[in-house]
């Protein structure tokens, strides 16, 4: 099974998309549950139940993010270099909650003091809200373009600051990602709990579901019709190494809808996203919580696919020098690296899915007030 360079470049878009879907579906549960924990749980016991729902799996779930970042480093080094340094302060704001959350979860129940626990509950909640929101904001900025350019040595130069990232448009993306991750967490908690927590959770499902549907539909129409999109005008042979600034990119209103006109099948992604959320919503009401969770996971997958499809072939459009934008054709590693990494992923990812599934199966069932050995 030997692919040519062009095919490999495309496959790597799919793989990195898959890793992000993995993180949003799995890690999203933890971010959302952390954010909701002090609101869903009124007493210390209730809060511990919420934490014990995610307790056995959150460590593993956040590796999806670490691996997605590692995969971008290996497969799209220019994206890694450019996005992370250009979005420096935003990344710092994502990083600090990510650092604080693991010790927070681990330290919280180690001391009986009520003040100690309340303090950590606040920390844990913020470390759930902030990344879930900021991931959306960063994604929203991709559609506007990010301020960077390359000099002739391929050194990337950023311009702009944190607050230029925060516009009504990108904040809407933040609401979108926050609401679907909170929805994902709510459905998971509905499945894992019973009694009073379960009652409260089913109310939040309703509000987050509606919030997501409204924000997503507005964001999507806004992107396709009111935003200056990008379009690849000309590029050299994509089956070879391509230097980012050698291509031509044009900008214009509603260019982000071009892919949908060219491949109308693409409309399926946003439509299915809405559909799966509605299905999840209904299933939650009839208390088919497991299937509701699966349905919402599919909605998340469709959401990420829709975003990548709209951007395609762009990964990181440059608002300052559109020709310097990064696409899947010119941001990639060498053919040899992509080939080796493909093999590594094809062998290792199924193993990961295998033991992750086993852990979930071992820990199945409702989390009740009776503490098991090892719980928080």
């Amino acid at each position: 099974m030997i692919f040519d360079y062009e095919t490999l470049k495309f496959i790597w878009l799919l793989l990195i998309g898959a890793l992000f879907i993995g993180f949003a579906v799995m890690g999203g549960v933890d971010l959302g549950a952390c954010a909701l924990m002090p609101f869903i749980g009124k007493t210390d016991d209730e809060r511990r139940i919420v934490l014990n729902c995610i307790g056995p799996t959150w460590e593993g779930n956040q590796v999806w993010l670490v691996t997605a970042a590692g995969a971008i480093f290996a497969a799209w080094p220019l994206v890694y270099a450019t996005a992370f340094s250009t979005l420096y302060v935003a990344l710092l704001l994502v990083l600090i909650p990510l650092i604080l959350r693991p010790p927070g979860l681990d330290f919280r129940s180690k001391l009986p003091s009520a003040r100690w626990r309340t303090f950590w509950d606040c920390c844990i909640s913020i470390t759930g809200f902030l990344p879930a929101f900021l991931f959306g904001v960063v994604f929203g900025n991709l559609f506007i373009g990010i301020p960077f350019y390359y000099d002739k040595n391929m050194v990337s130069h950023p311009s702009g600051d944190l607050f230029s990232l925060l516009t009504p448009f990108t904040l809407l993306f933040g609401v979108c990602s926050l609401s679907i991750l909170l929805l994902q967490a709510s459905l998971f908690l509905q499945h894992k709990t019973d009694g009073v927590i379960n009652e409260r959770i089913r109310k939040t499902v309703r509000s987050f579901g509606l919030l997501f549907l409204v924000s997503f539909i507005v964001a999507w129409i806004w992107t396709l019709t009111r935003i200056e999109g990008y379009q690849l005008f000309s590029i050299s042979d994509v089956n070879e190494s391509v230097i980012p600034y050698s291509k031509q990119v044009i900008q214009g209103l509603s260019y982000w809808s071009n892919n949908y006109e060219r491949y109308p099948l693409g409309y399926l992604a946003p439509i299915l996203c809405v559909g799966f959320v509605i299905i999840a919503f209904i299933l939650s009401i009839v208390r088919w919580s497991r299937t509701a969770f699966v349905s919402n996971s599919l909605a998340i997958a469709c959401l990420i696919i829709a975003a990548l499809f709209t951007l395609y072939p762009f990964i990181l459009p440059s608002v300052s020098f559109p020709n310097h934008s990064l696409t899947i054709w010119d941001a990639t590693s060498s053919k040899l690296t992509l080939t080796w990494m493909l093999w590594a992923t094809l062998i290792l990812l199924p193993i990961v899915l295998g033991y992750t599934g086993w852990v979930i199966r071992v820990m199945r069932g409702k989390v009740t007030a009776i503490p098991e050995t090892g719980s928080y």
Partner: protein, 518 residues
């Protein structure tokens, strides 16, 4: 021009976050195996005390594990946020081990560590034991891939420069995997992790023995730590890092800098026990030398010389001159002259391109460098000897003390007489900081000793930084220091609290504080 403030702040941030991360990693590596050994004994003998041991030391493991995970993310992100040119220049190679580490190792340890804590009532004994061993395996595989990445920075094999994409690209993955420097580093690092884990258990057990509480629990923990620890410290010392210093130019520079050795000595070289290395004067003041010893350790032979720093600098000066040619030809290639003659000429000298880049600090055009600038660049092509010289000696000194401790602990444990040897117990408690001191010093030797290179002979550190403002780095550095300090205080408080309470925290009703007095 190079912004020195930006470079220094970025380096400081990386060094501090890496040193901080490395407070937790060795303990994770070592304690995971200690837990696996204890639980194996439990499964084989069925004695409940070994399950309690696994669970109690597992509680301390948990406090430490979360911190190791959290601080590792900072390091991964920094390659993009602060070392963006580095990420572009070598991401094609360097990203590979990082991504595989995630897929093969980090997933394994992190997914199963949840079952280690939550799975006691849901798994059979054998299943739970398998989980514990897999967590230990995962954390060690994780170290393997990270050290393959780090070994490549020290000795970059299996790679070539591509002038079309302006970066280093992969030539051979197996060369990178079987990099001799990486292999030596891996063994040295994980074994020192086992030492950290065992000293941790040894010292806390010694505290219980000294207090005369939970004797059965403490004696058994002490025994496991003494046995595994002695084997580990011997492998750290015998399979020490020294054997890696004979490979590759930068490793040779590091060796000479460790020894503060300016002149090449006839083989076998002498070892400097004490001295004050001075890069300005290119000499080591007050040097106290033992003949022959260094040559024997470093080269494992009696007739191979160890090259001194002055000769290495002279060699580098020649390489810099070739590097200037390589840089000039690269400019021609980029300007569009891709004739076969230019490409061939570039290929013959491109291995020294990195040395040409060293001149960027003195003249942005490189090709117009004066003799004085070339001389300066050559002089800056070695690290400052003083900190490496002393970090190495502190590391070795700590290692020797720990060897002594483990020999004594093993001996008296075999004689079943540990609890009466108060001086030994006190020695064990006082030794608690030693593995951390040694590990941090070892990091300084390895990474500070690599300077001025980020990637040996390929990319100078000062070129690797992102084009961001110093104030941004100052902001992140400040917030990370504040956050890290606060977390360290909390984590140490919890560690001490739980260590003091001992196995009574398991609430089984079988231990000291739960029965009033003993």
């Amino acid at each position: 021009m190079i912004d020195d403030t930006l470079v220094n702040l970025s380096r400081l941030q990386f060094a501090l976050t890496a040193l901080y991360h490395f407070l937790f990693v060795p303990l994770t590596l070592g304690l995971a195996f200690v837990l696996a050994i204890m639980e194996s004994v439990y499964v084989m003998t069925g004695k409940i005390i070994y399950k309690d041991m696994t669970r109690f030391w597992g509680k301390l493991f948990a406090i430490n594990f979360a911190m190791g995970v959290a601080t590792g993310i900072t390091l991964e992100f920094q390659f993009g946020t602060n070392w963006s040119y580095y990420a572009h220049y070598v991401g094609d190679i360097f990203g590979v081990p990082l991504a595989i580490e995630g897929l093969m190792a980090f997933f394994l340890e992190s997914t199963l560590v949840g079952l280690f804590f939550f799975g006691w009532d849901r798994l059979t004994r054998i299943q739970h034991l398998a989980v514990t061993w897999l967590v230990a395996l995962g954390s060690n595989l994780s170290a393997l891939w990270i050290l393959i990445a780090n070994g490549w920075m020290q000795y970059p094999v299996g790679t070539h420069f591509n002038f079309e994409t302006m970066r280093m690209e992969l030539s051979s993955l197996s060369d990178i995997f079987f990099n001799p420097v990486a292999q030596v580093k891996f063994v040295h690092t994980v074994a020192s992790g086992y030492v950290t884990g065992t000293i941790f258990v040894l010292a806390i057990s010694a505290y219980y023995l000294l207090k005369g509480r939970d004797l059965a629990f403490a004696k058994r923990s002490f025994a496991v730590a003494a046995g595994f620890g002695l084997a580990s410290i011997l492998s750290v010392i015998v399979l020490g890092d020294e054997s890696g210093y004979s490979i590759g130019t930068v490793q040779k520079v590091k060796l000479a800098a460790i020894e503060g050795m300016w002149e090449t000595e006839p083989a076998p070289a002498s070892f400097t026990v004490f001295g004050i290395p001075d890069n300005e004067m290119q000499m080591t003041h007050y040097a106290l030398k033992i003949p022959y010893v260094l040559g024997l350790i470093a080269t494992r032979s009696i007739d191979e010389p160890v090259i001194g720093l002055k000769d290495l600098i002279a060699q580098h000066e020649e390489k810099i001159k070739t590097g200037i040619k390589a840089y000039g030809l690269l400019q021609k290639l980029k300007a569009g002259d891709k004739s076969e003659r230019t490409i061939d000429a570039f290929n013959t000298v491109k291995n020294n391109l990195g040395y040409g880049l060293l001149l960027k600090r003195y003249t942005p055009n490189v090709v117009d460098a004066t003799t004085e600038q070339i001389h300066q660049a050559a002089k800056s092509s070695i690290p400052k000897s003083f900190p490496i010289f002393w970090a190495f000696r502190i590391m070795v000194g700590a290692g020797m003390l720990m060897l002594l401790l483990f020999i004594l602990a093993f001996y008296y444990n075999a004689k079943r007489n540990v609890e009466n040897k108060k001086w030994l117990l006190k020695f064990a408690i006082c030794s608690l900081p030693l593995p951390w001191i040694a590990a941090e010093c070892g990091w300084i030797v390895a990474e500070y000793g690599r300077q001025p290179w980020a990637i040996a002979e390929i990319l100078p550190t000062f070129l690797g930084v992102s084009s961001i403002s110093s104030s941004q780095v100052l902001l992140s550095l400040g917030s990370l220091i504040a956050l890290y300090t606060a977390l360290l205080v909390v984590e140490l408080y919890l560690m001490f609290k739980y260590a003091r309470l001992g196995p009574s925290t398991l609430e089984t009703g079988r231990y000291y504080f739960e029965r009033g007095s003993k």
